[in-house]
């Protein structure tokens, strides 16, 4: 997904990294990683994951809201949304959010535009300005900080969560878990295997890490996609896979 919107993702994540203040916890994977923060649908293939919400670096900040209000007028948002009641565009003060009311959702709606007539402001206004408009819109809609993301699992539960809430679950079966796809090999007794990658590599951590992170390089033409995990997710996943005797 990130490859399709890589400009947005790149800018977006860069902004997150640069724009956040230490006091506000933000989901900050480095560029190129899986985009987990913004969803428009509550439906997900595979087991539902707790969404790691993207936070507005200036959420609730009075000065940011004031700036956002000014920008809302200057960039003609008010021309379509009036004072929030709507006109050409939908109302922003009611509880109907076609594309989601989370700060990240509103951010991406402004940057990307939407098919039924919302223009794409990305590249025309800065991410800083966009976050301030987001802060203003959420304030007139009386939306407060999104609930804190659920605490991450610990131990091998964490690795299992990485497996079930990431791409692995789309292709591999591990019996006893919700993972039941047959696109790739069954991993139920993975730890008992002597080799991986269709017998081309020994089943050791180092090979396994390289296989998960960059399989094309080891076996060109393989259907296994590169899965660029955050480091703590990779370590947890390796721990977990080792338990699958």
């Amino acid at each position: 997904m990130c490859s399709r919107f890589h400009n947005v993702c790149g800018l977006f994540w860069t902004l997150i990294v640069c724009g956040c203040s230490p006091a506000v916890p933000v989901a900050v994977p480095p560029p190129g990683h899986l985009v987990q923060g913004i969803r428009q649908s509550t439906l997900q293939p595979g087991p539902p994951s707790p969404v790691r919400l993207v936070r507005n670096p200036v959420e609730g900040d009075a000065e940011a809201i004031e700036t956002g209000k000014r920008l809302f007028g200057q960039f003609n948002c008010a021309g379509c949304h009036a004072g929030g009641g709507g006109a050409i565009g939908p109302a922003l003060i009611d509880d109907q959010w076609i594309y989601g009311s989370g700060a990240g959702n509103i951010f991406s709606t402004i940057i990307e535009g939407r098919p039924q007539g919302m223009p794409a402001f990305g590249g025309r206004i800065s991410e800083d300005q966009t976050w301030r408009i987001v802060a203003f819109v959420r304030s007139i809609a009386n939306l407060t900080e999104d609930p804190a993301p659920s605490p991450p699992a610990s131990g091998t539960e964490k690795g299992k969560a990485v497996f079930l809430h990431g791409p692995c679950v789309m292709c591999h079966t591990i019996r006893g878990t919700p993972a039941g796809s047959r696109v790739g090999p069954d991993l139920t007794h993975f730890a008992s295997r002597k080799t991986i990658a269709a017998g081309t590599l020994p089943n050791t951590r180092g090979h396994l890490a390289g296989w998960i992170l960059n399989p094309q390089n080891l076996k060109p033409g393989t259907q296994m996609p590169a899965t660029l995990l955050e480091s703590q997710d990779l370590h947890a996943l390796l721990d977990y896979l080792e338990t699958l005797k």
Binding site: F75, C80, A82, I88, A91, P115
Partner: protein, 555 residues
């Protein structure tokens, strides 16, 4: 054509249905369009087929009148859905035109399309405007001598208004006249003879604007076009100047909020007049021009009658553009009266809105005494039946930044009912006596078109779901039918394949007046929908969105 005829009389000569028997009118059949949003269109009947263009996505239906409206075919144009984002006042379409075996109409994303009337096959499609410049198209075109005439919408988006002639056979552009800018673009040449001195001069479409502002000055042509075959003149209005905030555009802002008489063969301007020079209140000048021959001061004059946004019914000499009379048909505070000698409305300067201040109690409000909704003339009663508004507004001037493809307005507006508390009226106006013969108060703006018939019955629809037949002479309510959704469409009468007279109307509330329902807007913000929501908070209690054709006949 949607306006029934070139003169825009909208009068049906059929009298099978009359004041005596209309109470027996029954629903013959209905057809759901499958589209929600405001249905402003007029159905079109050609032979045994009824054609109708829906609001976006502008589906064209062909229905079999021999078979209770069975679907013959449908044509779905490929459109840019983003066009919905630059349509100020709901994604309406006011109708199609039939010409030599083709049905021709405009799409929201500013294209004109010709479809084979028998098969539904697309014959040609021509791009006329650019949504990235804020242009859309909503008006019903007409065909004059083989050329389709149409204009753009977008006065709230800083477009440059134009009228274009397209060859009906092949779809190529024959000529285009702009309504702002240098004479060469406006097609003002040696034949141009405006009646009033202030309209004479070179390149007034440039000099009556601050530098270059005519390029984003509005003057769009989203309303009605009339044609006089004898004089060989077309008449069309021009829309509001942009932005709404007048402080940003000192000058008369020619040729916005006015009317042109043009030669249909090449678009050359023959005369012009501005209803509202340097318009202050979004009084678009695009309403219908009803072409009549009327006895004025003992002489029969060729005139056009125009119930105008600014609250006056004008009678103009259609050969010269001279104003013969202008009389208030609604409560007016934005002007004190009309100066006939100079042909100008006498503005109340104390009401002028501007940057950083709020002007209050401006009547009529921005949608005017009457907006696009077309009136109908009866040659039998000699009355013009006008569906219209009774609204006032407060307006605050704001900064306006021109950013192509986004609104360029610079005003915050709140509307409310005019004196009396009713928001709409249906009036019978005598243009010779210059007064109302009778008037019916309506709860909501009377946003539908009117239809007068030789049976001395007049039809119109209300936003709270009543399709009404009233006595043409007295205004007495003779019959009404409760539709599924509010009505803003144009009623028509036609002779069916069985020889019976039928009346047809579309329901489906919306348009600018119905935006609170069409757009699901929030009534807590009274400035929504350019201020209309403030006056229409109770509309959702009366109607939802809808979209169906209803056809009535006597049993």
């Amino acid at each position: 054509m949607a306006s029934k005829d070139y003169a825009n009389n909208r009068f049906s000569g059929m009298d099978q249905i009359n004041a005596g028997n209309v109470r027996n009118l029954k629903l013959a059949w209905s057809f759901t369009t499958g589209v929600l949003r405001g249905h402003e269109g007029a159905p079109l009947v050609v032979g045994d087929t009824m054609y109708f263009v829906t609001p976006y996505p502008n589906i064209l239906y062909a229905l079999d009148l021999k078979n209770q409206g069975a679907k013959k075919w449908e044509y779905k144009p490929k459109l840019q859905s983003a066009a919905q984002g630059v349509a100020c006042c709901d994604v309406v379409n006011r109708g199609a035109v039939y010409w030599e075996g083709k049905i021709i109409y405009n799409t929201l994303d500013a294209q004109m399309v010709a479809v084979d009337a028998a098969s539904g096959k697309e014959l040609w499609k021509t791009k006329l405007g650019d949504i990235n410049q804020g242009e859309t198209m909503t008006m019903a075109p007409i065909v004059v001598k083989g050329k389709v005439l149409a204009g753009n919408s977008g006065g709230e988006f800083g477009v440059r208004g134009w009228i274009t002639a397209v060859d009906a056979a092949k779809g190529n552009i024959a000529w285009r006249a702009y309504n702002t800018g240098p004479d060469a673009d406006v097609l003002i040449g040696p034949r141009f003879k405006p009646f009033y001195a202030r309209d004479r001069g070179k390149d007034l479409g440039v000099s009556t604007w601050p530098a270059d502002h005519w390029k984003i000055g509005g003057g769009s042509v989203w309303g009605w076009i009339s044609y006089d075959p004898e004089l060989n003149l077309i008449y069309h209005g021009t829309g509001n100047p942009g932005p709404w905030n007048p402080d940003l555009r000192p000058g008369d802002n020619k040729w916005t909020a006015g009317i042109f008489a043009r030669d249909p063969d090449n678009g050359e301007a023959i005369w012009a007049y501005q209803w509202s020079p340097h318009d202050l209140y979004d009084y678009d000048g695009i309403n219908e021009n009803v072409l009549l021959d009327l006895p004025i001061k003992g002489q029969t004059r060729k005139v056009l009658v125009r119930p105008e946004r600014n609250g006056y019914v004008y009678v103009l000499d259609r050969q010269t553009g001279e104003v013969l009379s202008a009389d208030k048909y609604v409560h007016v505070t934005t002007s004190t009266g009309f100066d006939l000698k100079n042909g100008l409305v006498l503005e109340d300067k104390s009401k002028t809105p501007g940057l950083g201040r709020t002007s209050r109690n401006l009547c009529p409000s921005a949608p005017g005494g009457k907006d696009w909704q077309p009136s109908s003339w009866s040659p039998r009663t000699r009355l013009l039946y006008i569906p219209h508004n009774n609204l006032c507004m407060d307006m605050e001037g704001l900064e306006a930044n021109y950013i192509a493809g986004t609104p360029y307005v610079g005003a915050s507006v709140k509307m409310y009912p005019g004196p009396g508390g009713h928001r709409g009226e249906f009036s019978a106006w005598d243009p010779v006596r210059q007064q109302k013969a009778w008037s019916i108060k309506e709860k909501f703006p009377a946003w539908s078109g009117a239809l007068a018939t030789a049976g001395d019955v007049v039809f119109y629809g209300t936003m709270d779901r009543n399709f009404k037949a009233v006595d043409a002479r007295s205004g007495e309510l003779l019959w009404q039918f409760r539709t599924g959704s509010g009505i803003i469409g144009q009623p028509i009468s036609f002779r069916g394949p069985d020889g019976k007279q039928y009346i047809a109307i579309a329901d489906g509330v919306g348009g600018w007046a119905g935006a609170i329902v069409a757009g699901g807007l929030d009534p807590r913000d009274e400035t929504s929908a350019l201020g209309f929501v403030g006056a229409m908070k109770d509309l959702p209690a009366h109607t939802n969105q809808g979209g169906a054709l209803y056809v009535f006949a006597l049993p």
